[in-house]
Symmetry: C2
Subunit: 330 residues, 2 copies
């Protein structure tokens, strides 16, 4: 059994290089000035399919055998992994069935369809996406591409951390702390592998929606806890996995900390990214920025790196946020 | 008298390096695939004050003597130069008065105020901004920072072209054609200087709003013509100068061509940048993208570079465009 490792991250970097975007590590004087420290922003919003998820999906799918390609892939996802799998599947010449919650943002469903993926809808509250995905996989003989509990996926996501360190060092900058959203935990686990190997003094901090704080609760408990269903789900649709992954959790037990942010704070970060940074960041992609802007994670007199992890947001919600018409459900 | 030159562009690059953002040259697989060619996008949207204008303004204002700084600067501008002058003035420790049309986007007026600038409003149709600006300059003894008819401003804007070529060559790419908005013509004149020196085989193409095509008409006539007032102004507020500059026009007579785009085409480009590229681009900053997306400038089987020149757009207009509610006036 392949185990996720930093060597695997290096291998993933070679694997995805022909297909993925080497996203920029941005720095904006206005943000630095506001926070009194340096902030390096990894803009995964401009990644293929609009989120970091393409890295892991392509790293997995591009390794399929010809026989596996003939049978296609299946995935379950709230949306960004869905689009990434559809995009990667098309690039390598295989088919993809995506199991998506019925309340997924329309832009994400349309994204899957535009990449030629087939969508199977399910009810987030009454059906198990894992069960549906596994049934399709066994019926069709397809490979199930898990959103985070797959070592190749974790290693693919880890290339984000590798690039952050490389680009920071090219500017002769060392990173004091790195903030990244945590849901299933694939991205932050992969980043953890990279930082432990390349920059062990960097504090790696997870950020979660306050309404879906399963990573925080699980780390406090020392075991993987499942979050109870939430009546008013967060606008961070990308971060609504209800418990940490089996493979990701042991890696993420090394985290320096976890912070939570409310929907109102996330909306303010999305609006700031629009107004000042001129970037389209989806709510789930803006939690790290929110953690800095609110001061929940101190940015003064240090260098922070954050991942703006995705930019797939419905125009109606984005408009409400930037026009200051958005009212948080909770 | 200092004359704009490529040596001046190189000098401007050194001058602005401590203050300006080295903006990324982005490339998105989805856009390349749609157009059948490579497109390199210079994202001046993430420049200080959200537009390329900071380059020229800082290159001029940072060269003021202590005596000049004590008397402050004055500028007239539809908005992006305004914010750039205010930002640069604050950085070098001088004051700025900005003469802005009463119908400027609110976001641009707020930007000037946020940078500590003083705003003097005027009527675009009945008053002369040049006259007001020059009167303030002579009354206060302030230095007038012209938006394009200043060699230091042209050279500052030219650093955009320098960086495009440097970053393209770092990827071993030669640029077949470079597209850039044309209004007063400062940016494209500066880029012309850079491309003539570094990449003389690159075709440099200007793009204008169809309703404000003074550059096209002037180049056809071989002399600077003034566009008649337009009843329904374009959404490209950044490109509403009514005639080419005195210093910029002779340089821009070397252009390989000029294309025009309608407001509907520009709105579609702004929407595409939001949906697919995840970038906030203002209408006037999206004209080059519009020229490629419409096929008015062929992108197939070649490498194009475009400048996404600014991202300062009111939330109400941006929302209308991304939600497909925008109706062009003409």
């Amino acid at each position: 059994m392949h185990t996720a490792s930093f060597d695997g991250v290096l291998d993933a970097a070679r694997q995805i290089a022909p297909a993925a975007v080497r996203t920029p590590l941005l720095e904006h004087p206005a943000l630095n000035e506001r926070l009194g420290g340096r902030v390096l922003m990894k803009a995964e919003t401009v990644q293929v399919a609009g989120a970091f998820k393409f890295r892991g999906a392509y790293n997995r799918i591009s390794r399929l055998t010809e026989d596996e390609k003939a049978r296609g892939v299946v995935a379950y996802s709230s949306g960004n992994h869905a689009q990434a799998v559809a995009a990667a599947a098309r690039m390598v010449g295989t088919s993809a069935v995506i199991v998506m919650p019925a309340d997924s943002p329309r832009v994400k469903v349309e994204g899957v369809l535009a990449f030629g993926g087939e969508v199977r809808s399910y009810d987030r509250y009454t059906e198990s996406r894992e069960a549906i995905g596994e049934e399709i996989a066994s019926t069709r003989g397809s490979v199930l591409v898990r959103p985070f509990d797959d070592p190749f996926v974790i290693e693919g996501q880890g290339t984000t951390g590798l690039e952050i360190v490389e680009d920071a060092r090219a500017r002769k900058v060392e990173i004091d702390q790195l903030l990244c959203g945590a849901s299933g935990g694939g991205l932050i686990a992969g980043i953890n592998l990279s930082m432990a190997a390349l920059s062990p003094d960097t504090r790696v901090i997870g950020v979660e929606p306050a309404a879906y704080n399963d990573t925080l609760l699980s780390l406090q408990a020392g075991e993987r806890l499942t979050h109870a269903p939430v009546a008013h789900p967060t606008i961070c649709d990308a971060l609504m996995t209800d418990r940490p992954g089996e493979l990701t959790f042991p890696i993420n037990q090394r985290l320096s900390g976890v912070e939570t942010v409310t929907d109102a704070e996330v909306a303010e970060a999305v609006r700031y990214a629009y107004r000042t940074l001129k970037l389209v960041v989806e709510p789930g992609g803006a939690v790290s920025l929110a953690a800095l802007l609110t001061g929940k994670v101190e940015a003064r007199d240090r260098t922070s790196a954050i991942v703006l992890s995705g930019g797939n947001v419905d125009a109606a919600l984005f408009s409400a946020i930037i026009e200051d018409r958005f009212i948080p459900a909770t």
